[in-house]
């Protein structure tokens, strides 16, 4: 070939073409990348280096009616694991430093398996500073592990209130799927009680902090000096109707008892105290709740998770006698002169219904004062089942009170229809009805309903829907919004109420069944009761209100398996009433502003 010589033209041309060709290719590629595809590369570059850090807003705080903190917030460290980059070989070390049992991390990861593995899982909340220091020292050897600082519920304000407050928990998958716009996976959501009902008030608005991160996801600084950041908006603080002193006395009294206390402000329906005992430790839910904790709570024979105050139903016993009495008075079946002789019981057909004592001649007031059964055995048949049932329902029994927590039972008030449905048209007898007169039989009520019932006697038939929320501070407009009570009147004459109220006064202050709690200072009126319990010893009951002339508090106390009402339940009622009515000079922290401004900072590493 003729071009096989040193530096031939052909060879020069090849070298030239290679050089210029490569130059042309490079320019084309640069044009493509830097001009045509610049937006997409820019986006990638920003995605790379600008990391949005979502900051959960501190939840609203709960205050009692006197602005004392009930449930607060506190900053805490949360250790997280992102499964996509996590090395399972690290598990034993992390478990050792956390002081948790072997297998703990595996279980948490398994519990959350259904989520994307790129989403960090909260492994331990409220971890000690020692753990964080250890993490910081070894961060480079701990891929997929990080921690954030977030706020956590603080329950260290002296009362427990587990059933009314409820708890917060990581949002479950199915809820998340419905509320994707509002929540991210791993966010906490209210799970029961007030936390659930007022979730939308409490959660506040998330903040976003844009951070610059380097290739190792290490934070270098703020993006655009924080110009684009969005501040968190703290959730609304709730002012609850609860009186911390009264609640605290109730909790103290129930330390070793099972039962419930509900106290209500009679005119407004404001719940002053609300207790179901035994309680559970809300602090357990503030941490990462393991299946063990759940299992333990659910398997406990005392059923600590069960809200007895508004969910447990039982026959109310003698506390229900006022229903028959007021129905008979209102319907004109009896008047104050109507008398019955108690010989210790009542013969109906071949069945003898017992009274506890031989009361002799009894009128409507003494029948309540001394709790005579005989009086009511005969009376209820005179009233008739459906009229009696109508009056029971007027007082709120047999239906939900629409209290502002999700856990509530309606109870049962039998009627002709009810018995027909359950036993068939001819399957039941009048004997069924006789025991209803003394609050036994197939009657099912809740402590909450009994408290509201007491409130209606206290205020002579006028009250309001029972509720926990007195008002809230709207954080966005920084204003206190008061919640108006929803009042109602059950339409029963004051005359009838006066007779019954007088009788209830005598129960405590006359020769009645609860004179042991008599107090001139408090002027308590009430009624004792013993609820039959098919599973064991009877439940002790007391309902009442005080002071007599201008009632400020109505109350129902249930003590499970405690026997006669006056000995156990009535003194507890008295103590709670006293705590509410007579305020000492105790100076407590009333500083509302200081506790609402708990700062939250979330740091990502």
């Amino acid at each position: 070939m003729d071009d096989n010589y040193f530096g031939s033209y052909f060879r020069r041309r090849i070298i030239f073409v290679i050089m210029v060709g490569f130059f042309a290719i490079s320019i084309t590629q640069l044009f493509n990348m830097q001009i045509l595809e610049q937006p997409s590369y820019s986006e990638k570059s920003d995605e790379n280096s600008v990391k949005p850090i979502y900051q959960t807003a501190p939840r609203g705080v709960f205050f009692d009616r006197n602005h004392k903190v009930l449930v607060g917030n506190k900053p805490s460290f949360t250790l997280r694991i992102t499964p996509s980059t996590y090395d399972k070989k690290l598990t034993p070390y992390i478990e050792a430093i956390l002081g948790s049992n072997p297998g703990y991390i595996d279980r948490i990861l398994k519990q959350n398996e259904s989520y994307s593995k790129f989403i960090p899982r909260r492994i331990a909340k409220d971890v000690s500073f020692k753990v964080i220091a250890w993490y910081e020292e070894n961060a480079s050897k701990l891929p997929g592990v990080d921690y954030i600082m977030e706020t956590q519920r603080d329950y260290s304000f002296g009362i427990i209130g587990s059933h009314m407050f409820g708890y917060t928990k990581e949002i479950p998958m199915e809820t998340y799927l419905h509320r994707k716009n509002e929540y991210d996976i791993g966010d906490n959501i209210g799970f029961g009680g007030i936390e659930k009902t007022y979730e939308d008030y409490l959660r506040g608005d998330k903040g976003i902090k844009y951070m610059l991160v380097d290739s190792k996801q290490k934070t270098i600084g703020r993006y655009k000096n924080g110009e684009e950041d969005q501040a968190t908006v703290k959730g609304d603080d709730l002012i609850l109707t609860i009186d911390k002193d009264a609640q605290s006395v109730a909790e103290e009294a129930f330390k070793d008892k099972r039962g419930a206390v509900v106290a209500i402000e009679p005119t407004t329906g404001e719940i002053i105290a609300f207790l179901s005992s035994p309680q559970y430790d809300l602090q357990d839910f503030a941490k990462v709740t393991t299946n063990e904790v759940w299992r333990e709570l659910n398997n406990n024979p005392d059923k600590p998770m069960f809200n007895r105050a508004s969910m447990s139903t039982f026959a109310p016993g003698s506390t229900f006698k006022m229903i028959s009495a007021i129905a008979a008075l209102e319907e004109g079946i009896i008047d104050t002169n109507y008398r019955v002789t108690c010989n210790g019981g009542f013969q109906f057909g071949d069945r003898f219904f017992k009274c506890l004592h031989v009361h002799g001649t009894v009128n409507v007031q003494t029948s309540i004062e001394k709790s005579c059964n005989t009086f009511y055995y005969s009376l209820v048949n005179k009233i008739g089942l459906d009229v009696w049932s109508k009056y029971a329902k007027k007082f709120g029994f047999g239906s939900k009170s629409r209290i502002d927590i999700p856990e509530e039972a309606a109870g049962i008030v039998p009627s002709t229809d009810y018995y027909n449905k359950v036993y068939g048209k001819n399957g039941w007898t009048k004997g069924f009805v006789i025991s209803l007169g003394i609050g036994q039989g197939e009657l099912n009520v809740t402590p909450l309903q009994l408290a509201q019932y007491a409130a209606l006697f206290a205020n002579s038939g006028k009250s309001a829907r029972p509720h926990f929320l007195k008002g809230y501070t709207d954080t966005r407009i920084n204003q206190y919004v008061e919640v108006k009570p929803q009042t109602y009147d059950i339409g029963i004459s004051k005359k009838s109420f006066d007779i019954i109220r007088r009788a209830m006064y005598l129960v405590v202050n006359g020769a009645g069944t609860a004179t042991n709690i008599r107090s001139d200072e408090l002027q308590i009126s009430g009624k004792t009761g013993t609820a039959q319990n098919p599973h064991g010893k009877e439940h002790s009951l007391f309902i009442g209100f005080a002071p007599f002339n201008n009632p400020k508090i109505a109350i129902a106390v249930l003590v499970e398996n405690a026997g006669f009402g006056s000995t156990i339940a009535a003194p507890i009622a008295r103590d709670v009433i006293k705590a509410f009515l007579i305020k000492g000079d105790k100076k407590e922290n009333k500083n509302l502003a200081a506790s609402t401004n708990i700062q939250e900072e979330q740091i990502a590493h």
């Binding site: 490079s26 990348m33 830097q34 790379n48």
Partner: protein, 409 residues
């Protein structure tokens, strides 16, 4: 103007000015990529000192008598081979390769000196009296001159530099006028080796192609069989050589063949480099304002990935300017190769051109994501004293040839 003309007559500004501008670009990029860096923030000052030393080196070689270079060829070549051997024994290991001599705070890379030595030696051998480039023995010796340093550098191991040596060797043989068949004999093992990377079937296909080509050239049976055996053994030899490659090098090859195989390794760097350059846009993000660079998304960016600092912070304008400056140097070297007075000088210029161009093409290609990730510095810009010094010294030699082009003709 007269003075300028006289200066240009003895000193080619068309090479010198782009070279200095590139060095300045390099210094800026090094400053930016090591800005506030915990361990590398001293690199800018070091590179500034290297640049001054390199410019001095440039002027020294520029002013030496031209005849010296021919007599330097053999001693420099063997000295560099000696250093290459020595570095394997006593060298410092940096980034998994034994390619450095540590002297005080500075290191020296003998492979850089070997570039100079090999170019001088090849130019010397290929232009010695009446060399017949199509003589199998002469080609064999020429190949051996290139092959010995390639083997030694592969043992360090430094694959990128070995490739550059191979390209230089082939270019110089090519320039010397090797016949198409000769070139086929030299290149075909490379094709077979490359094909064998993709597996047995492509390897067999490549061998079949070689057989077809041999029929086309219609050489005698002995020649054809010899060439085929050379090819076959090249394939097997490479298979063996691949196994002695360090795992990170095998990974690099694998990552080129299948980019998804290693998303966080060398493929990650290539991706981040592309993102850096692409996000620079037309004007760039501004000096010290590239987030890819400043947030250290690309490790050791001041060495092999220096170009994406330019791309990100100086944008399309800066990127094009840099490669245009390179093109000016290359075209100028190319032009000078035809004005040099003797074949030895021509081959030196072609050798320097090939050296710089192969570094440039492999590095820019890697940064732009059009060639595999092969660790090679970008001449004049990347951080590194030995490379900067040798590159400038080689341009000094070219400039020396330019200065003397009109003598004795």
């Amino acid at each position: 103007m007269h003075i300028n003309y006289k200066l240009q007559d003895r000193f080619d500004l068309a090479i010198f000015i782009p070279m200095i501008v590139l060095v300045i670009f390099g210094l800026l990029a090094i400053y930016s990529s090591t800005y506030n860096h915990p361990t590398a923030s001293g690199n800018f000052q070091k590179q500034l000192i290297f640049a001054i030393i390199a410019v001095i080196g440039f002027f020294i070689t520029f002013s030496l008598p031209q005849q010296l270079f021919k007599s330097f060829a053999i001693p420099v070549f063997f000295m560099s081979l000696f250093f290459l051997l020595a570095v394997l024994v006593v060298g410092k290991t940096i980034y998994g390769a034994k390619s450095w001599f540590g002297v005080g705070g500075f290191g020296f890379q003998p492979s850089e000196l070997a570039k100079l030595g090999t170019i001088l030696m090849l130019a010397y051998w290929l232009t010695y009296k009446s060399r017949d480039i199509n003589n199998l023995l002469d080609i064999g010796v020429a190949l051996a001159i290139g092959f010995v340093p390639i083997m030694l550098i592969m043992l360090e191991p430094d694959m990128g530099t070995s490739i550059v040596f191979a390209i230089i060797t082939i270019s110089l043989i090519f320039w010397s006028g090797i016949s198409l068949f000769g070139l086929f004999v030299v290149l075909s093992p490379g094709v077979v080796v490359f094909a064998s990377l993709f597996g047995v079937y492509t390897f067999i296909a490549a061998l079949l192609l070689i057989v077809a080509a041999l029929f086309f050239f219609k050489r005698d049976l002995f020649n054809s069989v010899t060439v085929f055996i050379i090819n076959l053994s090249a394939g097997f030899f490479f298979d063996y050589a691949f196994k002695i490659l360090k795992p990170h090098q095998q990974k690099r090859i694998a990552s080129f063949l299948d980019p998804s195989a290693d998303p966080l390794g060398s493929g990650y760097n290539a991706l981040q480099a592309k993102v850096a350059i692409g996000s620079g846009g037309f004007f760039g993000k501004g000096f010290l304002h590239g987030n890819q660079t400043q947030l250290r998304f690309i490790p050791e960016q001041w060495t092999d990935f220096i170009y994406c600092v330019i791309g990100e912070e100086f944008g399309f304008l800066g990127s094009v300017l840099v490669i245009t400056l390179f093109l000016i140097i290359f075209l100028r070297l190319f032009k000078l190769s035809s004005t040099a007075k003797d074949k030895f000088s021509v081959l030196i210029i072609i050798g320097v051109l090939t050296l710089l161009f192969s570094h440039f093409a492999i590095n820019i290609g890697m940064n732009l994501g059009i060639t595999p990730v092969i660790g090679l510095p970008l001449p004049f810009l990347s951080y590194g004293g030995s490379s900067l010094l040798i590159n400038m010294v080689m341009l000094g030699i070219v400039m020396n040839i330019y200065r003397n082009r009109k003598l004795h003709t």
